[in-house]
Each structure stands twice: as structure tokens, then as C-alpha cells.
């Protein structure tokens, strides 16, 4: 396992008020592992502990075999971290930010201009970051985390505040990196990105992991399969959803189909958000 976490606890107030409690999970090499949960669920706290930004108070965590409590600085040569917050030097231009950051590493780094081009920032390369929009800053933070071509990549809400086209571009880059063997730890409250990208998802709420599984398995286990049908009775068009695990509803749908009254028929799956609500009792917002 490239990331291994056992019995992780963290309290910001150094008491029993834990921001994360008894968190256990492991991530395989080349996997995209998603941490799905609402704001304040403990996603960023876990990521901060793993990247050394918060001290490991209780439990065990290792990255690529290195205990995060004693991880050497050189380990960061193989790690990339993209923050949700646009923490770049506002007085430096986009390219200056990347050039500066590339000098911090002891390994070969990627070409800053090529990276900016990947996220459509090439025309703003020489513009100071203080003049960037929120979305541009988010893209700059994202490509900065790629500068050392990381083996393990931590992404915190990578598509937050981005328009659908740019978000799609970012998702493509993430998929491409996975194909090249990068392990990705992704924290998000966006069920679509989690569903689309992640091999495995941990549902986290109030500091605790409720479930870990692949999106498909989660849907199979916890999602209720539905059929949405539009049919006519006495000339009147009706819309109805039929559960595929409820015998009565299956029979009712069969009856409608037999009578040839169906206008449209669609299968429907439960969304991750519905599953999240079912498991945790609260929504993702």
C-alpha cells in the first residue's frame, strides 16, 4: 500500500473533541482514492496530517513506507499537493510562481509554460497572480502541484470554482496522470467528480469514515435501482418511478408494459449523494 492509515485521530483543541477519529484506510499504488464528505467532515484535516501540515497526534500513517511523523523532507520530491485555497504569491506572475516552486525540488521538474498551457493559462503566464480570477488561481495551484511530476498526488477540491469546460480539462489531466501510474488522493464534496474519477471512495462525516468501497459497489449495495416510466391511462400522461426491489412495484410496471401503454422507460440509479444521505443521515453540502 502506498498510503496506509490506521487509527488516526486529531484534535485542534488537544482534547476529546476530535476533528477526525479512528480513521482507517489504505490506498493502492496507481489508485484514485476519494474522500467524499461535506465541509467540516475531516477531509482536509486528514490530508493535512498525511502531508505533514498538521502533526500526527494519535494513530499511524505512512506514505510510500515512510512514517509521516518522521518523514524526511526529500519525500516531498515525490509528492504533489494541490490546495483548495489559492495560496500562490500574488505579487509574482503565473510563470514566476511555477519557476520559483520548481527550484524547491531536488528532482527534474516539468516545464512551467507547458503546465500553464495544459490548463489554458499560457496567455496569463506573465500576468501577476493578483490579477487572476478565482478559477485561474485554482488552475495555477493545480498545475503547481504537478511541477515535480509527483508519484503521489494530493488534490483538495481540484475542480472547485471552475466552469464545466475547465473542470472537464482538469479531470482529463487527473485521469491521464493515473494512467501513467500516479497514485491520487482526492478530497471533495462533489459527488460527480468522485463518481467519475475514483476507484475507491471513503464516505466521511463528522470525522469518521462510514464506508469505503468503489462507487459501483456502493451503488449496488446501497442504491435502490429504479425505473422511471411515462405511460398513458385514459389519455392522460403519467410519470412514475418503480423500485426494482419491491415485488409489488415490479408487477405493476410489468402490467403497464404488457398493456402497451408505456411512452418512455429509463433505468435510474441512486446518486452517491443519496447513498451518502442514506449512510450518514446528512447531505454533502
Amino acid at each position: 500500500m502506498i498510503i496506509d492509515v490506521k487509527g488516526l485521530y486529531h484534535s485542534y483543541t488537544n482534547d476529546d473533541n476530535y476533528a477526525v477519529k479512528d480513521v482507517n484506510f489504505s490506498v493502492k499504488k496507481g489508485e484514485i482514492f476519494g474522500f467524499l464528505g461535506p465541509s467540516g467532515a475531516g477531509k482536509s484535516t486528514t490530508q493535512k496530517i498525511l502531508t505533514g501540515l498538521l502533526p500526527l497526534q494519535k494513530g499511524k500513517a505512512s506514505i510510500d513506507g515512510n512514517n509521516v511523523k518522521k518523514s524526511p523532507n526529500r519525500l516531498f520530491n515525490t509528492i504533489g499537493v494541490s490546495f483548495e485555497r489559492a495560496n500562490v504569491y500574488k505579487k509574482l506572475t503565473g510563470i514566476e510562481n511555477l519557476e520559483f516552486y520548481s527550484k524547491m525540488f531536488n528532482v527534474k521538474t516539468l516545464n512551467p509554460l507547458k503546465l500553464l498551457r495544459m490548463v489554458g493559462l499560457e496567455n496569463a503566464a506573465n500576468k501577476r497572480a493578483e490579477g487572476y480570477s478565482k478559477g485561474m488561481l485554482q488552475r495555477l495551484v493545480f498545475v503547481r502541484s504537478m511541477i515535480n511530476d509527483p508519484k503521489i498526488w494530493f488534490l483538495d477540491e481540484p475542480t472547485s470554482g471552475l466552469d464545466p469546460t475547465t473542470a472537464s480539462k482538469i479531470k482529463e489531466i487527473i485521469k491521464d496522470k493515473q494512467r501513467k501510474g500516479t497514485t491520487i488522493f482526492l478530497t471533495t464534496h462533489n459527488m460527480h467528480i468522485a463518481e467519475e474519477l475514483c476507484d475507491n471512495i471513503a464516505l466521511i462525516n463528522e470525522g469518521e469514515i462510514n464506508l469505503i468501497d468503489s462507487p459501483r459497489n456502493l451503488k449496488l449495495k446501497y442504491g435502490e435501482k429504479l425505473i422511471k416510466a411515462e405511460y398513458k391511462i385514459n389519455g392522460e400522461l403519467r410519470k412514475e418511478r418503480f423500485s426494482m426491489i419491491n415485488k409489488e412495484e415490479i408487477d405493476k410496471l410489468n402490467e403497464i408494459i404488457k398493456k402497451g401503454k408505456v411512452e418512455t422507460l429509463h433505468s435510474q440509479e441512486a446518486t452517491l449523494e443519496e447513498i451518502f444521505i442514506k449512510v450518514t443521515g446528512r447531505g454533502l453540502k
Binding site: T51, G52, L53, L54, P55, N73, R74, L75, F76, N77, I79, V81, F83, R85, N87, V88, Y89, K90, K91, L92, E96, E99, F100, Y101, K103, M104, F105, N106, R128, V141, R144
Partner: protein
């Protein structure tokens, strides 16, 4: 590491220049040059002329001796003395008279002189009358260091060492904290912490940038006022070490606070507590309580003075440099530890 430090330096120089730090340094240095050259007088000594009148009754030889060298300050009548005194508000008047073969001396004051001045004048006249027979003034003064230019330095130039201590050296005290808080506010320090760079290089870069600004400010102030005179190499070494120490102390204080508005008052207060007695000691050298001599700016100020106006006291320069190398190293280590503790807490 050299690549990383150069990257940090380039970044810190660029961000500080674009954040108007350089502009502030240059403007303040130029203002100080203007202040020293055009506002502060070359001679700040306050002359208090004394006008004399010797009445016709005087036959006493000693009384006549008092006004022997007074020339134009000897006036014909008491009224003329009073009139002259009204024209010159810092002046005093002395009327020398004789009654029954005994000297009678009248001192006319403006009314706001303190008792010390009046007593000094009384003593001077008494000395002239009773203890200064002719010939006693022939006291020869021999200077062991005739090369010393102490007396030739104009008053405005004399305060250049103090300005160098206050501006280029102590400037880092406040500015480095501001630079640090800007980065903390932007969250860029978090991004740095997930890179292989370490905290010691991060702090060192900022300390070096403040030192460079200190050196620039020193060159503007000294060249703009006293020119290239003095031991410029020694001066730059002293300013560099002083700036390193001041920057480290500024950072240590800042490490206890979350933002610049919280840290500003403690930083300014510390700065006042440290510099006020040192300034006092500069203008009144006899003021040197033991606690003052422990404060690093105290020896530094006299060493800077020696570098700008050399008197040949190389020992003072070398001792101060040695002392400040130790101070700088120790303060740097404490700074790094303080920030490690501070960042872990976060």
C-alpha cells in the same frame, strides 16, 4: 540547497520590491539624508552671550580683569546692557561695581534661566575675582591623539551613526515581520512546507533580503551625508550583522502572533524600549547604566560611529563584530526553532 536558496532570494526580492518595500527604504533613507543635510544645523551649541558694564567707581584690578577679553560685550551703561539683553533672549547681563573698596556684582537675567546657570555664572565670577591671579590662565593642553577628528565633525554629521542604527539596522525588525505575515496571510508558507525546502532556508532568505535593504539604506545615508569617508567595509559588516540580529528578533516576536495587527504593537514597543536609552546614551554619553551596556544596539552604535568617524579604535570594531557574529547565529537558531514550534502548533 544553493539552487533553492537562490530561488527563495529571487522570490523574496521580487515580492518585496513589488510590495513597495524597496521604495519605502529608499524614500526613508533620502528623507534622512535631507534631514541631516538641510534641517539639522551643523552647529547646535546654544550661545548665551553675557553683556558687561563696568561702573566708574571700579578701581579693583581683579574686577577689571574679568572684562579684559570681552571687547564688544562691554557696554557703557546698565540701561544699554538691559536694552541689548531684550534684543537677545538667551543673553545675561553683569554689572560690575565697587562700594567701599569691595566688589559689588549684579547679575541681570531674563527671568527664565534655571538656578544652575545662575550658579555657574556666580562661580565663574568668584573664580575670576579670588582664585585667578594673572598668569594662571596659561594652562597648556596636550593632545595624545592629535589625528583625532572628533572636534571637526559638524553636529548634523555626528548623528549619522544614530540614523544608520535606527534605519538600516532596526528597519528589518518591523519589515521582516510584515513580509512574513503577508506570506502567512496568502498561505504560501503551506505550499512551501509540502516541498523539500526547509524552514532554515526560508528564514535565511528573508533575513538576507532585509540585510541587503539595510546595506542599501546605509550607503544612501552615509554617502549622502558624510561621503566616502570612514571605514566603509567595516561599516557594512557591522550593519549586516546588526540587521541579521534585528530581523531575527523581529521574527521571534512575530512568531507569537497570528497577524501583523496583533504583532505590530509588541514589535514597536520592543523597538522603543531598546532604542530610546541608546539614543539617550548617544546624546548624553555619561548616561550608561549597566543594563544599557547589555543591549546589543549600544555597542553597535559606538562601533558604527567608529566606522564612520574612525579614531583608530580597531579593537572596538573587531570586538563588536565578534559579539554580533555570536548574537546573529544564536538568534537565527532561536528563530528557526520558534517557527518550527509555531508551524507545528498550526
Amino acid at each position: 540547497m544553493p539552487n533553492r536558496l537562490s530561488g527563495l532570494l529571487i522570490k523574496d526580492i521580487k515580492t518585496s520590491i513589488r510590495g513597495y518595500f524597496l521604495l519605502i527604504v529608499i524614500i526613508v533613507a533620502l528623507l534622512l539624508v535631507g534631514l541631516i543635510n538641510f534641517v539639522i544645523p551643523e552647529d547646535a551649541s546654544v550661545e548665551a552671550p553675557i553683556f558687561y558694564h563696568l561702573t566708574e567707581n571700579v578701581s579693583n584690578k581683579q574686577l577689571k580683569l574679568i572684562i579684559k577679553d570681552k571687547g564688544k560685550d562691554i557696554l557703557k551703561s546698565k540701561e544699554e546692557v538691559i536694552k541689548k539683553m531684550k534684543d537677545n533672549p538667551t543673553s545675561l547681563g553683569v554689572i560690575l561695581d565697587e562700594v567701599n573698596n569691595k566688589p559689588k556684582i549684579e547679575i541681570i537675567t531674563q527671568g527664565y534661566e534655571n538656578q544652575k546657570i545662575i550658579n555657574t555664572l556666580k562661580l565663574a565670577i568668584k573664580e575670576e575675582l579670588y582664585f585667578n591671579p594673572e598668569g594662571m590662565n596659561n594652562i597648556k593642553i596636550i593632545k595624545l591623539k592629535p589625528s583625532s577628528n572628533k572636534e571637526k565633525i559638524p553636529f548634523n554629521d555626528k548623528i549619522v551613526p544614530l540614523m544608520v542604527l535606527l534605519e538600516p539596522v532596526l528597519m528589518g525588525f518591523v519589515m521582516i515581520a510584515a513580509l512574513m505575515f503577508i506570506e502567512k496571510d496568502q498561505g504560501t508558507i503551506e505550499a512551501y512546507r509540502v516541498s523539500p525546502g526547509n524552514l532554515s532556508e526560508y528564514i535565511l532568505s528573508k533575513v538576507i533580503v532585509m540585510m541587503l535593504y539595510g546595506l542599501l539604506s546605509t550607503l544612501i545615508i552615509t554617502i549622502g551625508t558624510v561621503g566616502y569617508s570612514g571605514n566603509i567595509v567595516m561599516l557594512l559588516i557591522l550593519v549586516s550583522l546588526g540587521s541579521i540580529l534585528a530581523s531575527n528578533v523581529g521574527l521571534i516576536i512575530a512568531s507569537f502572533f497570528d497577524n501583523i495587527s496583533q504583532a505590530l504593537i509588541p514589535i514597536v514597543l520592543t523597538s522603543i524600549v531598546i532604542t530610546t536609552p541608546v539614543m539617550l546614551a548617544f546624546f548624553v554619553p555619561s548616561f550608561s547604566p549597566i543594563y544599557l551596556e547589555i543591549l546589543p544596539p549600544y555597542p553597535l552604535m559606538f562601533a558604527i560611529k567608529e566606522a564612520i568617524f574612525p579614531t583608530g579604535n580597531t579593537g572596538l570594531l573587531l570586538n563588536t563584530i565578534g559579539l554580533f557574529i555570536v548574537f546573529s547565529l544564536v538568534s537565527y537558531i532561536i528563530t528557526v526553532l520558534a517557527y518550527k514550534r509555531n508551524l507545528i502548533k498550526e
